[in-house]
C-alpha cells in the first residue's frame, strides 16, 4: 500500500531523493558524480509563449510561403565561416565520455541535416572527422589530444572556458571509461580516474585570451572562425570580455546543459538558467554594437522547435543540443528499461553517464555495449530530430509573420510567470509589465 494512503506526509525539505542522498553519502564517503544536467525545476522556455499574428500582425502561409533557416557563423574574421542549413548545432561531447559509434552517429546526423557537430575533451577521432561536414574543434584547458594537424582539419575552433553544468569546474572521466584507445588519445595511464583542469594552462584572463585567439588564428592562417564557450554565470560581463578578446561566435551554455560526469552538487547549485542568461548576452552584444555580427549560440535544455524559436526570438543566432541529441540517438529508450533497472535506474531517469555501462551504447567504452549503437541508424534518427525541430520553429515563425527564423524578436514573446518575465525581459502575458525594466 502506498504510504500516502495512510495519510503519511513527505517532507518538502527532506524529500525521498534528499534522504537517499544523505544515506548514500554516509555509506560511501564520496559525493555523487553523475551525468545529465540540472534536474531541478528552473524558469525556462516553457514559461514564455509566442503571440501569433492576428489583426495587428500578418502571418505567412504555412505550406506556401518561405521561412528560411540558413545561418552563417563566424564571418567577422575568418576566411571560411560556417554556412549551416539549420540553426540547430550539436554541442561538444567527448570521445571518451561517448563511444566512437555515438560520435560517428552525431557527425552523420548533423551532416545529413546540414549542420555542425563538435569534438570534446579528448581530441578528434577519424570517425567523427570523416562523417562531419562541419566539425568544430574544442580547445579545452586539458588540451587532451590537442594537436595542430587536427586544428587545421577543423572547420571552426571553440575555446572552452566553461560549461553550463559546471561553470568553474574541470572535466572528469572515471577509470572504467579510460580504455586503451581513450588513454592513448589523452596521454594518460589506462584505467585511472582522469581529472581535467578547470583553467587553461597558458593564459589567465581576457587580455591573455586575446593573444591566445590570435595565436590560433595565426596557426590556422585566419581561415577558421573562433568561438568562445562560457557557462552561464556573470553572462553580461563574460560576453563582453569574450567579444573584446576577439570571439567570432559566443557559445552560451545554461545550467540545464548536460555533462558526462560531474558532482551532483555542482550541477544543481552552480550557474544560472539559460532563460536568465540569454538576454544578458544579447544586451552585451548590442551594447558593443556587434549583435548578429558576433553570433550567439545558446545551449542548455534545448529540447525542440519551440525552444529553438524562443531562443532565437530572444536574440540567439543558433542553438546547440547535447542531451536531446543523445536521446534522439536512443538514450533512455524504453526498450532498455529492464537493463536500466538492473543498474538501479529506469528508462527516463538514467543519468549514470560516468559509469560506462550504458545499455544504449552511447556513454560507454565497453565494446559489447557500444556495438549496440548503429551509427548509420543513429545518425538518421538525429537528422530526423533536427529536421523536426527546424520545422517546428518554422511553424511558429510563420505564425508570427517571419520569413526567416532570425527575424523572430522579443516583441513576439510574453511570459507566463513573473520570474520568466523578469529574466526574459518580456511582458507578463496580458500585461505590459516587464519586471525590472527601467531599473
Amino acid at each position: 500500500m502506498e504510504p500516502v494512503s495512510h495519510g503519511l506526509r513527505e517532507s518538502a525539505t527532506f524529500d525521498r531523493a534528499t534522504i537517499h542522498a544523505i544515506q548514500r553519502a554516509a555509506e560511501t564517503g564520496i559525493y555523487d558524480i553523475r551525468g545529465w544536467g540540472a534536474k531541478r525545476k528552473v524558469p525556462h522556455f516553457d514559461d514564455v509563449l509566442f503571440l501569433g499574428a492576428s489583426m495587428s500582425r500578418y502571418p505567412l502561409e504555412g505550406y506556401r510561403e518561405r521561412c528560411d533557416t540558413d545561418i552563417v557563423l563566424g564571418d567577422r574574421n575568418a576566411t571560411y565561416p560556417l554556412r549551416l542549413k539549420t540553426p540547430v548545432t550539436i554541442a561538444g561531447m567527448s570521445f571518451g565520455a561517448l563511444s566512437a559509434q555515438a560520435k560517428e552517429a552525431l557527425g552523420r546526423g548533423a551532416s545529413e541535416a546540414g549542420t555542425s557537430t563538435t569534438t570534446g575533451d579528448g581530441g578528434m577521432t577519424p570517425e567523427e572527422r570523416g562523417q562531419s561536414k562541419h566539425l568544430v574543434y574544442q580547445y579545452l584547458p586539458s588540451r587532451y589530444g590537442m594537436n595542430p594537424d587536427d586544428l587545421r582539419k577543423a572547420d571552426a575552433i571553440e575555446v572552452v572556458l566553461g560549461q553550463g553544468a559546471k561553470p568553474g569546474g574541470g572535466g572528469m572521466l572515471l577509470g572504467q571509461k579510460i580504455t586503451e584507445r581513450v588513454a592513448a588519445m589523452r596521454t594518460l595511464p589506462r584505467g585511472i580516474d582522469q581529472r581535467s583542469a578547470c583553467r587553461h594552462p597558458d593564459w589567465t584572463g581576457p587580455d591573455d585570451l586575446e593573444i591566445k585567439i590570435r595565436e590560433l588564428r595565426e596557426i590556422t592562417d585566419w581561415e577558421k572562425p573562433v568561438y568562445v564557450k562560457i557557462g552561464a554565470t556573470r553572462t553580461y560581463y563574460d560576453v563582453k570580455l569574450a567579444v573584446q578578446a576577439g570571439a567570432d561566435v559566443v557559445v552560451l551554455d545554461g545550467m540545464q546543459g548536460g555533462t558526462a560526469a560531474t558532482q551532483d552538487v555542482f550541477i544543481e547549485h552552480v550557474g544560472i538558467p539559460t532563460l536568465a542568461a540569454l538576454p544578458q548576452a544579447v544586451q552585451a552584444l548590442q551594447e558593443l554594437g556587434v549583435h548578429r555580427r558576433v553570433q550567439l549560440i545558446v545551449s542548455g535544455g534545448i529540447r525542440g522547435g519551440a525552444d529553438l524559436a524562443k531562443a532565437m526570438a530572444l536574440g540567439a543566432d543558433a542553438v546547440a543540443i547535447g542531451t536531446a541529441a543523445l536521446i534522439a540517438l536512443g538514450d533512455n529508450h524504453p526498450k532498455y528499461d529492464a537493463e536500466y533497472r538492473q543498474l538501479g535506474s529506469a528508462a527516463g531517469y538514467y543519468d549514470d553517464y560516468q559509469d560506462g555501462r550504458d545499455p544504449a551504447g552511447i556513454s560507454t567504452q565497453d565494446p559489447s555495449l557500444s556495438a549496440r549503437l548503429d551509427p548509420v541508424e543513429g545518425g538518421r534518427r538525429l537528422a530526423n530530430f533536427i529536421r523536426v525541430m527546424t520545422m517546428e520553429a518554422q511553424t511558429i515563425a510563420r505564425a508570427c509573420g517571419k520569413a526567416h527564423l532570425q527575424h523572430l524578436e522579443p516583441e513576439d514573446l510574453v511570459a507566463l510567470t513573473i520570474e520568466a518575465a523578469a529574466m526574459a525581459r518580456v511582458p507578463l502575458a496580458g500585461t505590459n509589465w516587464v519586471p525590472g525594466a527601467g531599473l
Binding site: 588540451r143 594537436n147 595542430p148 577509470g175 585511472i192 580516474d193 581529472r195 597558458d202 595565426e218 596557426i219
Partner: protein, 229 residues
C-alpha cells in the same frame, strides 16, 4: 644539410601575419632570421616544416607555439607559453622564459638557458624540457608524460598532481606538490638524464641530480585522500 641562404624577416618592416604566412609556406631545410621582434606575440607559431628559424631579440607570448619539426632559436627572453603544445622539433631560448613554458607540449625538445617562471611544463604530454636555471612554482603541474630537467632550483609545489612525467632537479626543491615524491635514481635514469643534458649542450654531472615522480596515490578517487586535493 645547411641552407645556402638565410631569408631575413624584419618585423620593423612587416607584420607577424606576414612572417607566419611565409613560414607556413616555406620548404624544409630553409633558414630564416627574424629581426626586430621587439617582444611581439605569436612569432613562428604553427610551423610544420623542418625550418631553421632564429629570432634575434625578445619574443612575447606563445613563441613557437604548436611547433612541428622546426628548430627555433630565440636570442633573448620569451613571454608566457613558449613552445606551448609543441609536437616535435627544437625550441631553444638563449634567455629566460615567462610562465607556462612548454605547456601541454607533446614532443620535441625545449631548452631554456636562463630561468623559467611558474608552471614550466604544466600538463606536459611528452615533451623534453631542459632549464639551465631555476623554475618557478607549480612546475610540471599535472605533467602527464615527458621529462623536465632543472639545472637550478625548483619553486613551490613541484610536480603537483603529477601523472607520468619524470622530473630531474640539480638544485634545491622548495616543496613538492600533491602526490609528487622523490624517487630512486637508477642507472637507466642517469643514462636518460645524460642524454637529455647532452641534447641541450650542457655538461652538468647527472649524478648531482635528484629524480621526482608520481606516487600514483591520487590516480583514483578515494575519500581518505580528500585532504590531498
Amino acid at each position: 644539410m645547411a641552407a645556402l641562404t638565410t631569408t631575413v624577416a624584419d618585423l620593423s618592416q612587416q607584420s607577424v601575419r606576414d612572417l607566419n604566412s611565409a613560414l607556413h609556406q616555406a620548404s624544409s631545410g630553409t633558414s630564416w632570421s627574424v629581426t626586430h621582434p621587439d617582444g611581439a606575440h605569436n612569432l613562428a607559431v604553427g610551423l610544420t616544416a623542418a625550418l631553421d628559424v632564429v629570432i634575434d631579440g625578445p619574443a612575447g607570448y606563445y613563441c613557437a607555439g604548436m611547433n612541428q619539426r622546426a628548430t627555433v632559436t630565440v636570442h633573448g627572453n620569451v613571454g608566457p607559453g613558449v613552445a606551448e603544445n609543441m609536437m616535435s622539433g627544437t625550441v631553444r631560448v638563449r634567455g629566460s622564459a615567462s610562465q607556462s613554458a612548454g605547456a601541454t607540449a607533446h614532443g620535441g625538445l625545449l631548452v631554456i638557458e636562463g630561468n623559467a617562471s611558474a608552471r614550466c611544463g604544466i600538463s606536459m604530454k611528452g615533451v623534453d624540457i631542459v632549464v639551465g636555471g631555476n623554475v618557478g612554482h607549480m612546475s610540471a603541474f599535472m605533467g602527464q608524460s615527458g621529462r623536465l630537467v632543472v639545472c637550478g632550483d625548483a619553486g613551490d609545489a613541484l610536480g603537483d598532481s603529477l601523472y607520468e612525467a619524470r622530473l630531474y632537479v640539480q638544485g634545491k626543491v622548495k616543496s613538492l606538490g600533491a602526490d609528487c615524491v622523490e624517487k630512486e635514481m637508477r642507472d637507466e635514469h642517469l643514462a636518460e638524464l645524460a642524454e637529455l643534458l647532452k641534447s641541450a649542450d650542457r655538461d652538468d654531472d647527472p649524478a648531482g641530480f635528484r629524480r621526482y615522480g608520481s606516487a600514483r596515490e591520487l590516480y583514483h578517487f578515494k575519500v581518505d585522500n580528500s585532504s590531498s586535493y
